[in-house]
């Protein structure tokens, strides 16, 4: 039909790949369904006209939710976890979920109140075309030939139309003409009237706001918007930073607000082709392809001709830009011609391979195939591991990306200024009747008391400003010191000095900690993985406390092999030290102190504690590790406390299929944890509090309905009358909420211990924010805690303070950290297993922190 002709309008080189690249491309095309037209990820996808009416009318809010999220650029996912109303099921916080303790502090947050919203209802219409038109653009074009009827203020996605006014008739029929002169009947049917209070309207404001950003020439990349017109270039590192914003409008505790935060997109002024050439210089020819695959697969590239990002999933070495593909209209075209015609891009290197991106997107019942990209036109984005380790580069980058509270506030303010200055934006806002507060939200938070750190025979306070007690912990004896009676120190000849230095310094630092220490069994090995393993096999006896290996480089393979052997086949705690870290005499003592503490934890020792005013309490921490890039299995780490002082932790992990974020095996994990607890305490816990980290946006509903039942099921099978209190708290580190403390005339980071449970929290949740860590530069990020299930009847104040207390209990850092210690332990465990071990470690190690 006529739709097809215009449908090719925004087509990209997107085609299903032939399965045998060396054969004639053309001949293989017919066996694959031609890809649908339009740009991948394009806003306003072409909705199969046949399924549109079904979602309409019946359940309006759900239907619109689908429209706004699936049809408007996002995946079919609710990133704001709307509709998960967990608070109403928790009886004791229905009235109030706020805490009370601590000192008041004046705070500012990166939120703008919505000061006025449309007072009229929003009218939703369904639009039908006869004959059927497929292209969204064409559908819009035809509809807006009747602007006199519809008005200038409208939102249309191709089948659903929103207007701020009611059309005279419930069903309106109008006629339009296509460019070919074909007559089209358009039927506009009123399907729903949304009152201004409807939550659906909120989603609609988000759509309008995104439209405003677009009007101000912001480019959407992922979920955020960036300004390509105002880049900061860092020429000496060939980097470019695009400033941008992340924004969302949601119903918060008291009012509807816009949350806006600064975001930066880091681009490299280097194309994939440049990168390949420089790699070619560096590696031997026969390793070149492997090296390319290793470095490039999984990276995100940006194509500047359409400002879209893609993930590189494969490199097709047998193809080149001269190859052809079949377009949706059936014509054959080469990549060169296509890019020239479509985007006016010239491709100069005709022999370069092409990149494949498995762009997965369902369109109706057709899945669009992979996207072919030309290396020359793809810019690398983000930072590689190597760049991250480049101290100077990170320092130069931090100047632009790590903003102080005042700078950050200024940048956010710029967004509002921009909106004010832009006449089109103002008009659009006026037309919809929307307006925002021009100043940031200010309110009062609380700073809860600092904790006392308990060590053997010593109780001390730390400086609350820095939230760190590394100095204090050095002199006091540990709660429980494990002796180093019988231990191995393995080193290569070159690192003999480092090994000796470690040994001598350990003798210096261990007495004050209360660690009894004998001289190590020193073993020299060749610098080969097999040599290390052989020594381990020969020298470990049942009495060995710990194995210390001095490694000459950060090379992962040796580390992995040692860890794998000592965590599975021969379960013994182990400590690897890179020789270079011991090389600086001035820092040696401090580093060896840290190593000594870490070794003690790995052997089952305990360092310090804080007061926990609850009895028979078991704390569980869960985090997931997934490395989707290298296609490794996903690992869920599970950690549970073994004593009331939270100094000993039991751990398990579950190896799951790739990319899986939700955990299947929690029932068994909790069961073994309870059994272990019972062995230690001779009774079962009466309270269990689970901290679940690693939950992405939009997964809350599944977590509540899939993981929580596993815990409940487990507790039910323990005993008929065993009915402990269960609390499940979802921990989220990646939030765009930022708090600034008002100090004098300026803004500072809020101090550690700042708790916020008003204004910026959500009314349907039992949630709060805690700023627990101190940062030296940049803005501190608060951690969000969402209590999704709770039968504990504990006061919100106590839940908040307990959470803060647990942030003091991570033994690898003598200070307060961002998340409760069990989450960090679970993260460490999952990371070690995911990176190095790839299967569950031996359970004989499970009662100590061997994974630190």
């Amino acid at each position: 039909g006529t739709g097809r002709v215009t449908a090719t309008f925004r087509e990209v080189a997107q085609k299903t790949l032939p399965s045998h690249p060396s054969e004639q491309r053309q001949s293989l095309q017919p066996c694959h369904p031609p890809p649908l037209t339009e740009e991948p990820g394009g806003r306003g996808r072409q909705r199969g006209p046949q399924d549109a009416p079904k979602t309409l009318g019946l359940q309006i809010s759900a239907g619109f939710q689908e429209l706004s999220l699936a049809d408007r650029g996002g995946r079919r996912r609710d990133f704001h976890d709307l509709g998960v109303n967990t608070r109403q099921a928790i009886e004791h916080v229905r009235e109030s979920k706020t805490g009370s303790s601590g000192a008041m502090i004046k705070l500012i947050a990166n939120f703008f109140r919505l000061t006025s919203r449309p007072q009229w209802a929003l009218y939703q219409y369904h639009v039908d075309y006869n004959p059927e038109m497929e292209a969204r653009r064409l559908r819009s074009g035809l509809l807006f030939q009747h602007e006199d009827l519809i008005g200038k203020t409208h939102a249309f996605d191709g089948s659903i139309l929103f207007l701020p006014k009611r059309l005279p008739n419930k069903v309106t029929e109008v006629y339009s003409k296509t460019r070919n002169g074909e007559d089209v009947r358009i039927t506009i049917t009123l399907t729903n009237e949304l009152p201004p209070t409807s939550p659906t309207c909120l989603q609609f404001y988000n759509i309008i706001f995104r439209r405003l950003l677009k009007m101000m020439n912001f480019q959407q990349i992922g979920r955020n918007y960036y300004n390509p017109k105002d880049p900061v270039s860092i020429p000496n590192h060939r980097l470019m930073v695009w400033p941008g914003f992340t924004s969302s409008i949601l119903q918060y505790e008291e009012s509807i607000m816009l949350c806006a935060d600064v975001s930066h997109k880091i681009l490299r002024s280097e194309t994939v082709l440049d990168f390949m050439y420089s790699l070619y210089e560096q590696v031997e020819e026969r390793r070149f392809r492997d090296a390319c695959a290793k470095e490039l697969i999984g990276v995100i590239v940006l194509t500047k001709y359409n400002n879209r990002t893609y993930r590189v999933d494969d490199i097709d070495w047998d193809a080149n830009p001269q190859c052809t593909f079949r377009r949706a209209d059936g014509s054959e075209i080469s990549y060169i011609d296509y890019y020239k015609r479509q985007y006016n891009q010239d491709i100069s290197d005709l022999n370069q391979p092409v990149l494949i991106s498995q762009y997965r997107r369902k369109r109706g019942n057709v899945t669009v195939g992979p996207v072919v990209l030309i290396p020359e036109l793809c810019y690398l984005t983000g930072l590689t591991e190597k760049m991250r380790n480049d101290f100077n580069m990170m320092k130069d980058l931090a100047v632009h990306t790590r903003l102080s509270p005042e700078q950050r506030q200024r940048e956010i303010g710029k967004l509002v200024d921009c909106m004010k200055k832009d006449e089109c934006v103002q008009k659009e806002l006026r037309d919809w009747g929307l307006s925002f507060d021009s100043s940031l939200l200010s309110f009062t938070g609380r700073v809860v008391q600092a904790e006392k750190i308990l060590q053997a025979g010593n109780v001390f306070d730390y400086n609350p400003q820095f939230a760190d007690w590394s100095r204090e912990t050095r002199v006091a004896p540990l709660i429980h010191a494990k002796p180093l009676d019988n231990w191995l120190l393995i080193y290569t000849r070159r690192n003999y000095d480092a090994a000796n230095m470690l040994l001598q310094n350990l003798f210096k630092v261990t007495p004050s900690m209360g660690i009894r220490m004998n001289k190590a069994t020193m073993i020299e090995v060749d610098d080969r993985t097999e040599a290390y393993l052989r020594v381990l096999q020969q020298s470990i006896t049942p009495d060995t406390n710990i194995v210390v290996c001095i490694l000459s480089s950060t090379r992962k393979d040796k580390y992995d092999a040692i860890k794998k052997y000592l965590c599975t086949d021969c379960p013994i705690p182990s400590q690897c030290v890179v020789a270079r870290t011991l090389s600086k005499p001035q820092t040696a003592l401090a580093i060896v102190t840290k190593i000594a503490l870490q070794m003690n934890c790995k052997m089952g020792g305990e360092l310090w504690s804080v007061e926990i005013p609850l009895k028979q309490l078991m704390i569980v921490g869960i985090d997931c590790y997934h490395d989707t890039l290298s296609g490794k299995q996903s690992i869920a780490g599970f950690v549970a406390s073994l004593n009331e002082k939270m100094t000993r932790w039991f751990s398990r992990c579950v190896v799951q299929s790739r990319g899986q974020e939700i955990v299947d095996g929690l029932k068994a994990c909790l069961q073994t944890a309870l059994r272990e607890w019972f062995k230690w305490n001779k009774y079962l816990p009466s309270r269990i509090i689970v901290y679940r980290d690693g939950v992405g946006d939009g997964q809350l509903n599944t977590l509540v309905n899939y993981e929580v039942p596993q815990f409940l099921d487990c507790l039910k099978t323990v005993g008929k009358d065993y009915n402990p209190r269960l609390t499940v708290i979802v921990v989220k580190k990646r939030v765009s909420t930022r708090f600034f403390a008002q100090a004098g005339g300026g803004l500072k980071n809020p101090p550690p211990g700042t708790v916020v449970d008003i204004e910026v929290t959500r009314p349907e949740w039992y949630d709060f924010f805690i700023v627990s860590q101190a940062v030296r530069n940049g803005c501190v990020a608060p951690t969000h805690y969402n209590v999704v299930y709770d039968t504990s009847k504990l006061k919100p104040d106590h839940v908040q303070r307990l959470t803060y207390k647990l942030c003091h209990m991570y033994y690898n850092w003598s200070g307060v950290i961002r998340v409760p210690a069990p989450c960090q332990y679970a993260h460490k465990l999952a990371f070690l297993v995911g990176q190095s071990i790839h299967r569950e470690p031996n359970l004989l190690l499970s009662d100590r922190l061997y994974y630190l």
Binding site: P613, Q671, K682, D721
Partner: protein, 195 residues
């Protein structure tokens, strides 16, 4: 398993779901098919394994995720001594707490939490069938028949509380208070969770 591979949804045989999306789908489909949901049981080792009650025992016997419970049998020769019961460190005692949050727990509280207080060193296993053998080290303790159990189940009334506080009972293997561990029929998740 390839995360792109398709598996069949237990609630609706017509649904073919990508492995990596199954948990999300199960939540949705469970809600949409309450009839079927009632007839299905969840495997104790892996929440994505759901099957009719009649098949559960057979599944449990051969579930590939069983090792989640029994990994502890892996006893390595080089660590003979570590296989023993944990030595609970007792050297350090925390100073008494300045606060007591338990005391502040909502006054509306009906019953204090149940505390199972026994001296048994082994706890029966879930689905205690012949297929599931407890690791040897759990068998070293006193047999369950001889276990002295103190229940600390505090009931509502103050008089009842007194009565129950430190009553010693000798648990029989079939004693309901302790041995409901032997899985009866696990109940479906509470209704309020299915929002």
């Amino acid at each position: 398993m390839d995360p792109e591979a398709l598996v069949q949804c237990p609630y609706d045989k017509a649904h073919q779901i990508r492995v990596s999306r199954l948990p999300y789908h199960l939540v949705k489909c469970q809600r949409n098919n309450p009839q079927v949901a009632r007839s299905l049981e969840v495997c104790p080792f892996n929440a994505r394994h759901r099957m009719p009650r009649s098949e559960l025992q057979r599944h449990i016997a051969c579930c590939p995720d069983q090792r989640l419970l029994f990994n502890s049998q892996e006893l390595s020769l080089c660590t003979g001594d570590q296989a023993k019961q944990p030595k609970v460190p007792v050297a350090w005692q925390a100073p008494p707490c300045q606060e007591d949050w338990e005391a502040e727990v909502d006054e509306l509280e009906e019953a204090a939490p149940f505390i199972l207080n026994t001296t048994v060193s082994d706890l029966p296993l879930e689905g205690d069938s012949s297929a599931l053998v407890a690791p040897p080290n759990w068998r070293q303790g006193v047999g369950p028949a001889a276990a002295a159990v103190t229940t600390g189940h505090l009931a509502k009334g103050p008089d009842k509380q007194e009565q129950n506080r430190s009553r010693k009972v000798v648990a029989q293997p079939s004693s309901p208070a302790v041995c409901a561990w032997v899985a009866g029929a696990p109940l479906p998740p509470p209704a309020h969770l299915l929002i």
